[in-house]
């Protein structure tokens, strides 16, 4: 195409770039995340939060004030687990978008043990953890079965199963499990021995669990034979199969593990935050898990770190809700904007724009 004469001769050429130094890549990604944060800040300012306040009250306060630092860590536990859940599933290219449904099932199963007073008090907590993991993996396993047996796209099935799980939760909370004491739609309070232990800040059962899960998933994905298999499956299923990798078993295992981790995430929120099953405890965690896995590029250690940053965002969002009546979905909006800017910036990592004379 001939350029009009008032433009300089030549044009912008787009080339594929295969090897960009890790440092430069990080620079681009962090820059993109910052742009996303700035856009979000602009939206908040437009929504009526003074810019000075935004910086001092929320960013600095959230990190320096011991009470809110504690809140951030408390928030980080479940976010680490859902982030790991996302990472594990996405490693085999299984789009598990049903983290919320699996969280709901995990919490329902654990709460069932409390409601029916099942098992001796001494082992109640481990039983609840086992129940949460089992219910979570059953729900993600169902989507896997539908995909393998009936070729139902997992993006759709996992999302729809979220709604099914939600209505089951509501049925229980407005029906059989409604707290008889106050008739509010939440389950009766958990007993003391059903709560995760707190040995004083910062050693909390929840954080130990998150830490343990991070290390275990890191070992599994990066150091074990299973991790090697997963890398094969991620790169090329056909080639992996030809090399004798049990592709289906590897995928099943990762999907089940993903569901189990999400189930734990749900259980932790119910157990630590309210100590009872509530109607919207899972709000915002499903997308956060996907976001964390995406930003961490499915790396478990990076996921744990990103989860802490998202926890800061969550706590900030809660303050905004209290002080400025900004709905909590603002957190979701900010997360979506950051995903967009970071995803868009990968264009610069994979391509080079060059002026051709």
């Amino acid at each position: 195409m001939a350029s009009p004469s008032f433009l300089p001769a030549g044009r912008l050429n787009l080339e594929i770039r295969t090897n960009l130094a890790m440092g430069r890549q990080m620079l681009i990604l962090v820059g993109a995340a910052l742009i996303g944060i700035l856009v979000s800040a602009a939206i908040l300012v437009a929504a009526g939060v003074p810019f000075g306040e935004l910086l001092s009250e929320f960013v600095i306060q959230t990190l320096l004030d011991p009470a809110s630092r504690q809140a951030v860590l408390a928030q980080a536990g479940p976010l680490v687990l859902v982030g790991l859940a996302g990472s594990v599933a996405f490693r085999t290219r299984f789009w598990n978008l049903g983290l919320e449904g699996q969280m709901i099932w995990g919490s329902i199963a654990a709460t069932a043990l409390s409601v029916f007073d099942f098992g001796p008090p001494g082992v109640r907590l481990p039983l609840m953890l086992a129940a949460a993991a089992t219910a979570g993996l059953a729900w993600s396993g169902l989507a896997f079965y539908l995909k393998e047996r009936f070729r139902v796209n997992e993006i759709i099935s996992t999302l729809l199963l979220n709604y099914v799980a939600l209505y089951l939760l509501l049925d229980l909370l407005y029906g059989a499990w409604q707290d008889p004491k106050d008739s509010f739609p939440h389950s009766p309070q958990f007993r003391d021995f059903e709560r995760l232990p707190d040995w004083g800040w910062p050693i909390h059962g929840e954080l130990l669990l998150a830490l343990l899960a991070t290390v275990a998933v890191f070992w599994l994905l990066s150091l074990s034979r299973f991790g090697l298999y997963i890398r094969f499956v991620h790169e090329n299923k056909g080639a992996a199969r030809a090399l004798g990798v049990p592709v289906r078993a590897v995928m099943l295992a990762s999907v089940l593990l993903s569901g189990a981790l999400a189930g734990w995430g749900g259980f932790i929120i119910t157990d630590v935050q309210e100590g009872r099953l509530t109607q919207s405890f899972f709000d915002g965690y499903g997308f956060s898990g996907i976001l964390i896995a995406f930003l961490a590029r499915n790396n478990p250690l990076a996921a744990a770190m990103v989860a802490v940053l998202i926890a800061v965002l969550f706590v900030t969002g809660q303050s905004l809700q209290i002080f400025y009546q900004i709905p909590f979905s603002m957190v979701q909006l900010i997360e979506a904007i950051i995903v967009m800017t970071v995803a868009a910036s990968e264009f610069l990592i994979r391509h080079r724009l060059r002026w051709v004379a």
């Binding site: 539908l146 009936f150 796209n153 759709i156 729809l160 099914v164 997308f287 979701q332 995903v339 051709v356």
Partner: protein, 314 residues
Amino acid sequence: MAICEFIVNWAGGVPATALPYALAALGLIVSERAGVLNLTAEGLLLVGALAGIGASLAIADRPWVALPAAVLAAMAVGLLFAGLVVLLRVNQVIAGLAVVFFCQGLTSLLGTLAEWQNHPISGLGKLIVWPLSELPAGTHALFQQDGLVYALLPIFYGVHRVLFKSMTGLRLRAVGEAPEAADSAGLGVTRYRVLAVVAGSALIGLAGGYLAVGGTKMWFGGMTGGRGWIAVALVIFARWRPWRALFGALLFGCIESMVPRIAAAGISVPQYFILMTPYLVTIAVMVWAGRGKGGADLDEPGALGRPHVREERR
């Protein structure tokens, strides 16, 4: 007689409940026929719904103000999505999800800040056209429909004509089946894809606007309740064909229209299990669509979900 009344009443409710599914699925088909996997429907429905209510409350409580507002708002978001996936080649699943969550957050924020929540509007009125209005009064419930319902068939016919009987449609489908071949034949792949996404978004926005202006007649956060995801499933069930999508939408309209009427008829069933049915039926329909050799995959546009990369150009 009571059962007869129930059926007329139920069937009369079907078009209104089926319409959002039909329009949203049609919009998705337009986009996916051009090769862009589109998961944004749930978000665009919300944007359309909020824009419809917002325009009604802020400008004028008229459907001819509200529905265009819904369409334009959804087109703007569609343009954003097209920019991400077509120009910047972002993974189409990630971008689609991000757009949905962006819309959920944005509509909830705007709806709250502008105080558009739970303010009823008069919205779209029912009308009955002349030859049908002469039928006995008992059957009026069947034909007393929103104007947009009567426009649905022409819209479907028009989109069908464009997609399958016109040069534009042939090119659009070529871009979705084999972008490299289309490119070497001189078609602007980028341009066709962007236009397809934006045009599809307009239809989804109209669906969202109708949901609010014709259906609930007010705004509340998350009011689409997963209809966008069901529309995404409908497209696979319909194998990317408009008329089949319309049939699927009617099926869902029948189910959704039944839900409130079961309770109203005094049949006692656990309500939350009834509310699960659309989602369970969708999964069942997907299982049905996936049966046989190859299932729905055979009809999938060849380049669905794959960005078109052309760097070699000198």
